[in-house]
């Protein structure tokens, strides 16, 4: 019976996170996790009230039934259940999960949205982004968290769930809290008050140390998706679920490696040479569970500036060789590439007031490596 429910919910998660049938279903599906929302809250990023409803339902479910979500709904739990394992059942280290949760909580206050990054639904969303075609080698890194969970599961059944998972801990402790507060029931305490304080304090200290080491580096070609919050906050709020990368219809959104510093790894950036930012698409914003990319209406998104194009005149075949080209102007949706006559041939000039940095020009430039390229706004 439990398998059937798990399978049904697994299919629902695959359907909504992987297919983008409804506009922001993928975002809501990933935002279903209450701990992800706690992380969002800690990083001071607001999510619309509507999006909190599914997470609220999970909170109520947890208060009432404890780990019901883990046993029946969680896709990562399902994966662990069907994968082989050496040990028969739970092999948990008592209280470790609470310590990990409090540590992540403390670190999330000062550093990245760590609670969200280690959220099981987000881990599962990453797995699905690997199935996006064409597959890039870099995309395979999105499998690593799920692979680690599976390997841990091999040595101890559902090791992740009972010892590390923030959502599982939340669900379990929520029920205990309810029993204690409402039903006045004495429950076993897993860790001492001292350990709890030490865990939060350790998290805070680690977060403080890590945020000292944060990188302010941003590549000159680092273009964030349209509607992205400012760069500094973007790295903090983004949980690297890969939803936007998977949602992008032109495949232009790709995970960063070093372009935004070490702490910005796997955050999305637009690579116009692979795919432009489509004029009639706003799916990245709609699919973002943390509002790191804000959900924009199509009419607004069309006018959002993400970067600025510049022509390299020594590479451009119109400027340097006098060829008849103007492909950039042809493709520009916003009339942002004008032409001036040079030696009897029309040559491209960027009208900066019109340019949104969508990258149509760079994508289709016939010169190898592109003679017109999009740059970050402030370089």
């Amino acid at each position: 019976m439990r398998r059937v429910t798990q399978l049904i919910f697994f299919a629902i998660f695959v359907f909504f996170l992987g297919r983008f049938v409804l506009e922001n279903a993928a975002g809501i599906a990933a935002a279903i996790s209450p701990t992800l929302q706690i992380g969002n809250f800690l990083r001071l990023n607001s999510v619309s009230f509507l999006w909190l409803i599914p997470a609220g339902l999970i909170v109520l479910l947890s208060l009432w039934k404890g780990r019901f979500f883990c046993w029946n709904i969680c896709p990562v739990g399902f994966i662990q259940d069907i994968l082989p394992s050496l040990s028969r059942w739970k092999s948990n280290v008592r209280g470790l999960n609470v310590v990990v949760f409090l540590f992540l909580f403390g670190a999330s206050l000062l550093f990245l949205n760590l609670i969200g990054i280690f959220d099981p639904v987000v881990i599962f969303a990453r797995v699905l982004s690997v199935f996006k075609r064409p597959v890039y080698v870099l995309g395979l890194w999105f499998l690593v968290p799920a692979a680690v969970v599976s390997i841990l599961n091999f040595f101890g059944k559902r090791f992740w769930c009972f010892n590390l998972c923030p959502l599982g801990t939340f669900a379990e402790e929520a029920k205990k809290l309810r029993l204690y507060l409402v039903n006045k029931q004495k429950t076993e305490v897993d860790i001492s008050r001292r350990t709890a304080i030490a865990a939060i304090g350790g998290g805070l200290a680690a977060g403080a140390l890590l945020s000292l080491a944060r990188s302010s580096y941003a590549d000159e070609r680092l273009i964030r998706p349209p509607g992205a919050v400012p760069e500094k906050f973007f790295k903090e709020t983004c949980v690297r679920c890969g939803n936007c990368i998977k949602a992008c219809i032109t495949n232009g959104l790709q995970p960063c490696v070093t372009e935004s510093g070490w702490d910005g790894i796997f955050t999305p950036r637009l690579v116009p040479r692979i795919g432009e930012c489509d004029e009639y698409c706003n799916r990245c914003g709609l699919s973002c569970p943390t509002s790191a990319i804000r959900p924009l209406k199509l009419s607004v998104k069309r006018n959002v500036r993400v970067g600025l194009a510049r022509v390299n005149r020594s590479a451009c075949i119109a400027w340097s060789k006098g060829e008849l080209c103007m492909v950039c102007s042809e493709f520009c949706p916003y009339l942002a590439v004008g032409s001036t006559e040079n030696k009897g041939v029309p040559c491209p000039v960027v009208r900066e007031d019109n340019c949104r940095g969508c990258g149509h020009c760079e994508k289709h430039c016939p010169v190898s490596g592109a003679a017109i390229r999009v740059y970050r706004l402030d370089v």
């Binding site: 004029e279 698409c281 103007m326 042809e330 016939p366």
Partner: protein, 312 residues
């Protein structure tokens, strides 16, 4: 007088009379190559026909514009494979006049099926993302409810490399397999201005059936367009001039005029040359049309074209 033996006499007789009688014994078999039988009716006009219809109802305009050619039935025979190549390259609504009107495409699909076509495929190698482009241009609606298929040429496997024997610059090109395998190839462009080739009408629309457009721009756009038109020879060209884009072509948005015309023909150069008139130009002003006429692809001089006008 010396006497001739009887045998010799008969030999001589055969030699002299043979040529007279042999043709009568085998009249056609031997001499039919020499004799040219002229038809009794008047020979057809050598001038290519360009047909123009002005009106509002797009389906009726299509039927009317094909009348001088004997209707669609003269092109599409029963169970033929028809490929329609509209211009649906851009994410632009039909009103923005950057793409072929979906109602015209739909009308053509219906006409083809009425003529007994086996399958109709609408193909396009879009410039913008094809999912958005087909939605915004209305191509999805154009095929909806018909048996026709809408195919985006986006994979390498959709194209096949062919030789272009008459090509001057373009010697080889990867061209859509659907077009190569079609019994009837119908080119349905829209007429608009173009930032590089001045105008884009019929022959420029062939670039949407080719894989590597960048090559054209790198190696002389106008001559490449003429080169590809030596191998892509549509059986029928129907130009959408119900509304035309006058500025900021090919993508727009720009100034739109509404001549409310549909132009059809079988001669690609004549059609393009005639449609250039919509922009107060002639075929001689547009380099790729001139290049195509130099390659003998059709008649650029409108004085030598039979123009049939009609109103609805």
């Amino acid at each position: 007088m010396e006497k001739i033996p009887r045998r010799q006499f008969l030999k001589n007789l055969a030699l002299f009379l043979g040529p007279v009688f042999i043709p009568q014994i085998f009249p056609k078999r031997v001499f039919s190559q020499v004799i040219q039988v002229l038809p009794s009716e008047k020979p057809p006009s050598r001038r290519p026909i360009v047909s123009v219809v002005k009106g509002e109802d797009k389906k009726k305009m299509l039927a009317k514009v094909l009348q001088p050619f004997g209707g669609i039935g003269n092109f599409v025979k029963s169970s033929n494979r028809v490929v329609i190549k509209p211009n649906a390259a851009w994410e632009r609504t039909p009103d923005e006049a950057a793409t072929t009107h979906p109602e015209l495409v739909r009308g053509m699909i219906e006409l083809c099926y009425e003529a007994g076509a086996g399958e109709v495929t609408v193909v396009e190698n879009t410039c913008d993302n094809f999912k958005s482009a087909f939605k915004v241009t209305g191509m999805n609606d154009a095929v909806k409810g018909t048996k026709a298929k809408l195919k985006a040429l986006e994979n390498k496997s959709d194209f096949e490399e062919i030789d272009i024997p008459k090509g001057e610059i373009l010697k080889k090109a990867a061209v859509a397999k659907n077009v190569l395998g079609a019994d009837v190839f119908i080119n349905m462009p829209i007429a608009k201005v173009h930032s590089a080739s001045k105008l884009t009408i019929g022959m420029k629309n062939h670039m949407g059936a080719v894989e590597d457009r960048g090559y054209f721009h790198l190696h002389g756009l106008n001559r490449c367009i003429a080169d590809i038109s030596t191998v892509l020879r549509p059986n029928l060209i129907v130009i959408d001039a119900t509304r035309i884009l006058l500025t900021n072509g090919p993508k727009g948005p720009g100034k739109v005029a509404a001549p409310n015309q549909v132009i059809a023909g079988t001669d690609q150069v004549a059609c393009d040359s005639f449609a250039a008139g919509l922009f107060s130009m002639s075929g001689y002003d547009v380099e790729h049309i001139v290049e195509a006429s130099k390659r003998g692809l059709g008649e650029i001089d409108l004085n030598k074209v039979d123009i049939r006008r009609a109103n609805l």
